[in-house]
């Protein structure tokens, strides 16, 4: 008994020590709990939310692009694709075999799908085929009971209703590349497209809209359990262009396969009604990616279908520049409307001889006649008297030599030469002979077809500095706002001077002896005025001139002259100006003028049929229209 009580005492002591030890260890657990759940709680709450909540971006629908009458030119199309969810399909191979009966799958496609099935988690849909047509969609839907795990998924893809006809204006959208990344998370969405050229590019931010977001709860496998919160995005703005889709279509058809540009501009507002660069390309095919062969054929084509020549092409203006030279001479006072000059076919400057396009000469002409007949000798003389600096200054007032700020990417400035420019760029002083050459729009001077159209508009609207634009409303970062409703500022050209020049341009088309007589518009209220131009692409040697200049038809295409025409209509109350440049087209009067006539005719016909609703129209009919509208 005594022995046992001793044993009991020892036991109790030891038991208490064990109990104490356990109490201490349990206190450690309690302390640890306090640390994790109270001290560190916030951190773990964050971690827990990161664990379970995924943000999904909802891409906004891209804004449509419509023409001046609201006709859609770029919109979004449902893109049906068929996807397979391996987890639901069970036997993926067998399901694909069945699916192949509806959508034939190549061996390569099967291998790609098999690869993705292996790589991705079983509940992630795998794209089997994109851009299904409606009958395929319908047949898959009907057969869904036999196609476990096969789903039709709808995405959006950009669709250009007019295809190649508007490609150079609208541009296209394509996948985001590394250098496009700006931090906008939308750009990192797989399959997201951004504007890569044209209006799509320059107004990309406005068209893009802003993404919405969806907070979804996911489980440990990443599978979506439910949506917690959804914030709708802002769809992209609809951009209404000044382009008349029907006119654009007409011009494209009219140009056929010519390497040519046509720019139609409203002389009062600067609205571009049409901007065509031919040939073109199909922007829809850029959406899904071009094949190597398609790409090769596009970039190797000598007619440069990928280049928007209307704003990028820089051509010597040739005789279309003569009205500007005339105005410079009149302004300086070295000539008047009545100044007469005798053209004997050529003129001499030192040892050099400068030829008129008409070998036998025009005889004695006044200014109006010189414009009508496009006499080179007359303008050599005007240029010599006026000097390059005055000519250059007048050219700049009419929008040449610098970018006009059209809302398209990639506009080129052209070139208006001067003494200072030549010293800087070439390193030698200006020669008087170069002034003479400039007087007929050749030599260093370069213009874009857009500049030519704007120059013509500024002549036709009475010398006001309209600037070209492509949108009916100003597109800003926040949305759209109307353009200020005011007349373009005056260029300060004396009206009498201008009227002589315009009369000359009227004669070019409408006088019985005008260079573009054959291209006149016969409806009196739609009559057009204009100026032809033919620009040498090659240097004509003295030997050739003596043996007889080769005719264009006898030359290889690349060496033929460029054919130009600028014009406006109606003569009595100008509303529309046009520039036509046909690369290697031959003569301005034979090739470019008929196109300009057809274009201005159609422009006026369409405008008469469907006046554009809106305030610009209202303003014009209140102020300057003197019955020109039919």
């Amino acid at each position: 008994m005594h022995r046992d009580s001793e044993r009991h005492k020892l036991f109790s002591r030891r038991a208490l020590m064990l109990g104490g030890g356990q109490a201490a260890l349990l206190s450690v657990l309690a302390g640890r709990m306090y640390y994790l759940q109270v001290v560190e709680s916030e951190r773990y709450v964050t971690l827990a939310d990161e664990n379970r909540i995924n943000f999904r971006l909802l891409p906004p629908p891209r804004g449509r692009i419509v023409d001046r009458h609201g006709k859609p030119m770029a919109d979004n199309q449902q893109n049906y694709r068929v996807v397979i969810i391996p987890e639901q399909a069970g036997d993926v191979e067998r399901t694909l075999d069945l699916l192949s009966l509806i959508v034939p799958l190549s061996g390569g496609e099967r291998r790609r799908i098999a690869r993705e099935v292996k790589r991705k988690r079983a509940f992630v849909p795998i794209t089997v085929r994109e851009n299904l047509d409606w009958s395929e969609v319908a047949r898959i839907e009907v057969n869904t009971p036999d196609l476990p795990g096969v789903l039709i998924d709808v995405g959006q893809s950009r669709n250009y209703a007019m295809g190649a006809e508007t490609a150079h204006v609208l541009g296209y959208v394509a996948a985001v590349s590394e250098k496009d990344l700006t931090g906008d998370p939308l750009l990192e969405l797989p399959g997201f497209r951004i504007g890569k050229a044209g209006v799509e590019k320059i107004y990309d931010l406005s068209l893009r809209g802003s993404g919405g977001s969806s907070q979804v709860e996911v489980n440990a496998l990443g599978r979506v359990i439910r949506e917690l919160n959804r914030q709708e995005g802002q769809p992209g703005n609809e951009v209404r262009l000044t382009i008349d889709a029907e006119l654009q279509h007409f011009i494209t058809e009219r140009l056929g396969n010519e390497s040519a540009t046509v720019v139609v501009v409203d002389v009062h507002t600067g609205e571009i009604l049409s901007l065509v660069s031919s040939p073109s390309f199909d922007p829809n095919s850029f959406n899904t990616g071009l094949s190597q062969a398609e790409w090769e054929s596009l970039i190797s084509n000598p007619k440069a279908p990928l280049t928007n020549k209307a704003i990028v092409g820089q051509y010597a203006p040739g005789s279309t520049f003569k009205p500007v030279v005339a105005l410079a001479g009149l302004e300086k006072g070295v000539i008047t409307a009545d100044t007469k000059i005798n053209c004997a076919g050529s003129t001499k400057l030192g040892n050099a001889e400068f030829h008129c396009w008409k070998k036998g000469g025009h005889g004695v002409l006044d200014l109006q006649g010189a414009i009508e007949h496009s006499c080179d000798v007359y303008f050599y003389d005007v240029a010599r008297r006026t000097g390059i600096e005055r000519i250059a200054a007048m050219a700049r007032r009419f929008g040449l030599g610098d970018r006009l700020g059209l809302d398209l990417p990639g506009e080129k400035p052209g070139l208006v030469p001067s003494n200072k420019w030549k010293l800087g760029a070439i390193g030698s002083p200006w020669q008087l002979g170069e002034t003479l050459i400039a007087g007929i729009g050749q030599g260093y001077i370069l213009t874009t077809p857009l500049q030519l159209a704007v120059m013509t508009a500024r002549l036709a609207n009475g010398g006001r500095a309209v600037t070209p634009r492509l949108t009916m409303d100003k597109v800003t970062e926040t949305g759209l706002e109307p353009y200020p409703d005011e007349e373009a500022v005056s260029l300060g050209v004396t009206p009498e001077h201008l009227s002589v020049v315009l009369k000359g341009m009227d004669d070019v088309v409408n006088s019985p002896t005008g260079t573009a007589r054959r291209s006149r518009i016969t409806e009196p209220q739609w009559r057009m005025a204009g100026k032809t131009g033919t620009v040498q692409v090659r240097r004509i040697s003295k030997a050739e001139r003596e043996t007889g200049v080769l005719k264009n038809e006898d030359l290889p295409w690349k060496e033929r002259d460029h054919a130009l025409f600028v014009g406006y209509a109606p003569v009595d109350s100008p509303r529309f100006a046009v520039s036509v440049v046909v690369e290697h087209g031959g003569g301005g009067s034979s090739t470019a003028a008929p196109i300009a006539r057809d274009v201005l005719h159609e422009t006026q016909r369409l405008a008469a049929l469907r006046p554009t609703p809106g305030r610009q129209e209202a303003r014009k009919s209140n102020t300057s229209d003197k019955g020109g509208k039919v």
């Binding site: 020590m17 356990q22 450690v28 657990l29 709990m33 759940q37 709680s41």
Partner: protein
């Protein structure tokens, strides 16, 4: 055989009288604890009694009946058959070992008809009984003799080796620690534990470089550093800490635990059920459960210390320590304090075996309580009653 005053001073005591003396407060506390488990299993199933909560309740009910039967059985029965029971379980363990060796890979289970059981779990109780009987039969002087300690050391070592080969590190650990506690409570000198500890520390590196093969070393390294296995056990611990920590002071609410319900938490109904509790009921909920455990443990100690026979004391302390080890290892594991070992949370985790072991142990503990006034001589180890 010496009888003292009190209930069991009489040769025969009715079952009814024994039932009256059952520690009913203890039974209520453990029912409360198990009920927390039912609630968590209900939540783990997304608000359904199926598949876990209902089956757990049935098991608990059956287990409680068994517990009461064990409690009212004469404590001398357990003393008498302690070794026999130990040998039986050892044979089962060996059988599993052989079957596992012959069959494919590790096998821990044997079927008891309606119930599958792991012999390694039964060994936890068998070991307590066997060691208690052994030390009951030794005097204070005996316990001081090193040779006296050799047989119980072998009794511990043999099953420990068998179990670690399964491999089941958690159970081995618990078996060893519980045995050490019984050695300690039996009065083995403190310096011997220190010496054993030092020897263990010395032999560990020797064993590392001489005995262990590379794959064994690798297994131990992964065990010691789960973070190196981020997609395996390390991932589990990280997720467990996130779930637990995000519970905060008051938790996310019953059935509102996002991490556990979205399957970020592995094994939420078994080993990681405490994490789920702490996520849904916060610090307050976690501490409440721990407080219930502390009360049960405290009663365990009181029962052990109140026994007038050494066998009862040692059984009581053995059961209590085993119970504690379950609790501590599980909770410390889900909090990332110790490496992941598969030890369930007693009374709460889903699973029959641990429940059975615990209720078997508690049956013995209650048996000790009922028979606390009974003195049993050292020599008469049950051979003659």
């Amino acid at each position: 055989m010496l009888y003292h005053d009190g209930l069991l001073s009489q040769p025969k005591v009715s079952i009814g009288q024994k039932l009256l003396h059952l520690h009913w407060l203890f039974v209520i506390l453990l029912t409360l604890t198990a009920s927390i488990g039912f609630a968590m299993l209900y939540s783990a199933a997304g608000g359904d009694f199926d598949p876990w909560a209902s089956r757990q309740m049935v098991r608990f009910g059956v287990g409680m009946l068994g517990m009461v039967v064990i409690a009212v059985t004469d404590i001398r029965f357990w003393l008498r058959y302690a070794y026999a029971f130990y040998v039986l379980v050892l044979v089962l363990l060996l059988g599993v070992e052989l079957a596992g060796f012959v069959g494919m890979g590790a096998q821990r289970w044997i079927s008891l008809g309606f119930f599958n059981i792991q012999p390694s779990e039964l060994m936890k109780i068998a070991m307590v009984l066997a060691l208690a009987r052994y030390f009951h039969g030794g005097s204070i002087e005996d316990v001081g003799r090193p040779m006296f300690l050799l047989p119980p050391a072998i009794m511990v070592a043999v099953p420990a080796v068998l179990i670690i080969r399964q491999p089941d590190l958690g159970t081995t650990l618990m078996l060893l620690l519980a045995s050490v506690a019984i050695f300690f409570a039996a009065g083995v000198r403190m310096w011997k534990f220190i010496l054993a500890g030092v020897l263990g520390l010395i032999s560990a590196p020797v064993a590392w470089f001489t005995i262990l093969r590379d794959y064994q070393k690798q297994r131990i390294l992964t065990f010691l550093n789960p973070e190196s296995d981020t997609l395996g056990s390390g991932y589990h611990i990280i997720q467990s800490k996130i779930a637990l920590g995000s519970g905060g002071m008051f938790g996310k609410g019953f059935m509102q635990g996002t991490q556990s319900h979205l399957n970020f938490l592995p094994e939420k109904q078994t080993d990681f059920i405490f994490t789920m509790l702490a996520e849904e009921f916060g610090l307050v909920g976690g501490l409440t459960l721990i407080a219930l455990y502390v009360l049960l443990l405290a009663y365990g100690f009181v029962i052990a210390m109140s026994s007038r026979n050494h066998f009862g004391r040692l059984v009581g302390i053995g059961v209590t320590v085993t119970f504690f080890l379950y609790i501590f290892i599980n909770i410390a594991m889900v909090m990332g304090l110790i490496p992941v070992v598969g030890v369930p949370l007693p009374l709460v985790s889903y699973g029959g075996t641990a429940m059975l072991t615990i209720l078997f142990g508690f049956g013995l503990l209650l048996c000790v309580h009922i028979h606390q006034d009974l003195t049993i001589g050292r020599r008469d180890s049950g051979d003659e009653f």
